[in-house]
C-alpha cells in the first residue's frame, strides 16, 4: 500500500501539473478537493482519466467519483479493492 500511495502521489503531481508540489508534502489522508490540495473540477476529471489510463478503472457515477477521489488514500484503496495495484 505504501508503494502504491507513493506512486499515486507522483502520478497525480504529473497529471495535474502540480509543478511546485513534492510527493512528500502531500498527506494521503488529507482531502484533495476544497481544502487540502484544493483541486478543482477539471482536476477531478483528470484524476478520472488517470485511473482509467494507469489502472484500467472506470468510475461509474459522480457519487462513486466523489468517494473514491476524496483523498490519495481512498484512491489507493479503490485501486487495491479492484486488484489493480
Amino acid at each position: 500500500m505504501e508503494q502504491l500511495i507513493a506512486k499515486l502521489k507522483a502520478e497525480i503531481i504529473d497529471a495535474l501539473n502540480l509543478t511546485e508540489i513534492t510527493p512528500e508534502s502531500i498527506n494521503e489522508n488529507e482531502p484533495l478537493f476544497v481544502e487540502g490540495l484544493g483541486l478543482d473540477s477539471i482536476d477531478a476529471l483528470e484524476l478520472i482519466v488517470l485511473l482509467e489510463k494507469k489502472y484500467g478503472l472506470k468510475l461509474g457515477t459522480a457519487e462513486e467519483g466523489k468517494k473514491v477521489l476524496r483523498s490519495v488514500k481512498s484512491m489507493a484503496e479503490f485501486i487495491r479493492a479492484n486488484n489493480k495495484g
Binding site: 478543482d40 473540477s41 477539471i42 476529471l45
Partner: protein
C-alpha cells in the same frame, strides 16, 4: 445611436437548410438530435445533431465543385448564399463587411483521413476567411471571432457596432461549427454529454448534446431592406466571470453584468432565449443570473433540445429563431424540458404559445468564463 436593422437570415442544420424549414420542424416539436454510429467520429455510438452532408454537397455543387471545399467551408458558403438570395445587397462593395463566428472551423483537417489533411494552412481560421473573401470577391477580409460558445452572439453585436461606425452599409454575420471527433472526444472527457436528446432546465438533465449547424444574419443600415416589423439590434455586451476557465460562476456574475448593461436604464423584455445547454451547472447559473436581474417572470426557453449545442453557430441560429418568434409572435417550447430543475424559479416556456414579442433578449455563456447579451426590438 444609429439604427441597425435586420435584413435576411439563414439556418442550415439537422432540421433544414433555410430558416423556414427549421421553423416548421421546431413548430412541430422535432428534434435533430439522433443516435449516430460512426466509428470515424467516436468509438461508440453517440447522440448528436448533424446536417445532411449529401444534400449540402448537392446544393453546393451549383456554386462550385464540392470536392475543392471542406465540409465547414461548404456549410458557411451555402448559408451565406441562401441569406444573400433573399436580399439584394452587393457584397463586393467596400461598404460591406463579413464577420465569421466559429470555435474550431476546419479542425477536422487535423485528422489524417481528412481529404484536406495535406494542406497544412487549411486549419487556420485566417485562411478560411481568405477563402470566403475570394469566393464572394469581398473588398475586406472577413473579421473572425473565435470566443468559445458566445462567438455567435458576439459576432452579431460586433456587427451592429460596425454598422454604427458609419463605414459599412451592410454586415453579413455568419457562423458555423461541425460535429467532429475532436470536439466529441473533448466534451466526453468532461463527462458533459448526455444520453439521448438534452433536457434544458429540466430536473433530470444530465448534460449537453452536440450539434452541427451554420447560420447567417444580414445586418444593414438600410431600413428598406429590413423585413416585417423592422427588427433592430439595440445593443449587446460581453463580460467575464473571472472565476474558472470551464465552469460557470456560481453567482452568475458575468452573465448578470451583461444582462444589466443591455437592459439599462429600464428596458422591458418580452422573451429571453437562454443558452440552456442542459448541463447541471450552466442552467443553474443562468437561473441565478436571471433571478438576480429580476427576470424570473419573463418567458424563457432554450433551443438546445432541437439543434443541440452548435457552438460557434449557436448564437446566430438561436438569434434567427428569436427573430422568427418576433415576426410571428410565437414563443417556442423548450424541447426536452418537463419539470423545473433549477434552484431559482424561472418561467421556462413548456408549450408553443402565441404571444406578442416586441423586445427579445438573447444570452449566452462559454468556456473561458465568457458571457454575452443582445437585445432586438421591433
Amino acid at each position: 445611436m444609429k439604427p441597425v436593422y435586420l435584413a435576411s437570415d439563414n439556418i442550415i442544420s439537422s432540421l433544414g437548410f433555410n430558416t423556414d424549414e427549421n421553423a416548421r420542424a421546431i413548430t412541430q416539436g422535432q428534434t435533430g438530435i439522433k443516435l449516430h454510429n460512426d466509428a470515424r467520429l467516436a468509438p461508440v455510438p453517440f447522440w448528436a445533431s448533424v446536417s445532411d452532408h449529401d444534400r449540402l454537397s448537392q446544393g453546393f455543387s451549383q456554386y462550385a465543385d464540392p470536392s475543392h471545399y471542406s465540409l465547414f467551408e461548404q456549410l458557411v458558403i451555402s448559408s451565406v448564399k441562401d441569406a444573400l438570395s433573399k436580399t439584394g445587397i452587393v457584397v463586393q462593395s467596400e461598404r460591406t463587411l463579413f464577420i465569421l463566428s466559429t470555435t474550431k472551423g476546419n479542425i477536422d483537417v487535423l485528422d489524417p483521413d481528412n481529404a484536406f489533411h495535406n494542406d497544412p494552412s487549411r486549419m487556420y481560421l485566417w485562411n478560411t476567411a481568405r477563402l470566403i473573401q475570394n469566393f464572394f470577391k469581398l473588398f475586406h477580409t472577413p473579421v473572425v471571432v473565435s470566443n468559445a460558445c458566445i462567438s455567435g452572439v458576439l459576432a452579431v453585436l460586433i456587427g451592429a457596432r460596425m454598422i454604427r461606425t458609419g463605414k459599412f452599409d451592410h454586415v453579413v454575420v455568419t457562423g458555423a461549427d461541425l460535429v467532429t471527433e475532436f470536439v466529441l472526444s473533448g466534451f466526453n472527457s468532461f463527462l458533459s454529454l448526455c444520453e439521448g436528446p438534452c433536457k434544458p432546465f429540466d430536473k433530470n438533465r444530465t448534460g449537453l448534446s452536440l450539434g452541427e449547424a451554420a447560420g447567417t444574419i444580414v445586418l444593414t443600415a438600410d431600413r428598406k431592406l429590413t423585413g416585417k416589423d423592422e427588427l433592430q439590434v439595440r445593443n449587446g455586451f460581453s463580460s467575464n466571470d473571472a472565476n474558472h476557465i470551464s465552469g460557470p460562476s456560481r453567482t452568475g456574475e458575468g452573465l448578470y453584468i451583461v444582462i444589466k448593461k443591455v437592459l439599462e436604464p429600464d428596458r422591458n423584455v418580452d422573451y429571453i432565449s437562454a443558452h440552456g445547454t442542459a448541463t447541471p451547472y450552466n442552467d443553474e447559473m443562468e437561473s441565478i443570473a436571471l433571478s438576480r436581474a429580476g427576470l424570473s417572470a419573463v418567458p424563457v426557453n432554450s433551443f438546445k433540445g432541437y439543434w443541440g449545442h452548435t457552438l460557434g453557430a449557436a448564437g446566430i441560429i438561436e438569434i434567427v429563431a428569436g427573430m422568427y418568434s418576433m415576426r410571428n409572435n410565437i414563443l417556442f417550447k423548450t424541447l426536452g424540458y418537463a419539470e423545473p430543475g433549477t434552484s431559482q424559479p424561472i418561467s421556462v416556456i413548456d408549450h408553443n404559445t402565441k404571444s406578442p414579442v416586441n423586445t427579445f433578449l438573447k444570452i449566452a455563456s462559454g468556456f473561458g468564463g465568457s458571457n454575452a447579451s443582445l437585445v432586438i426590438t421591433k
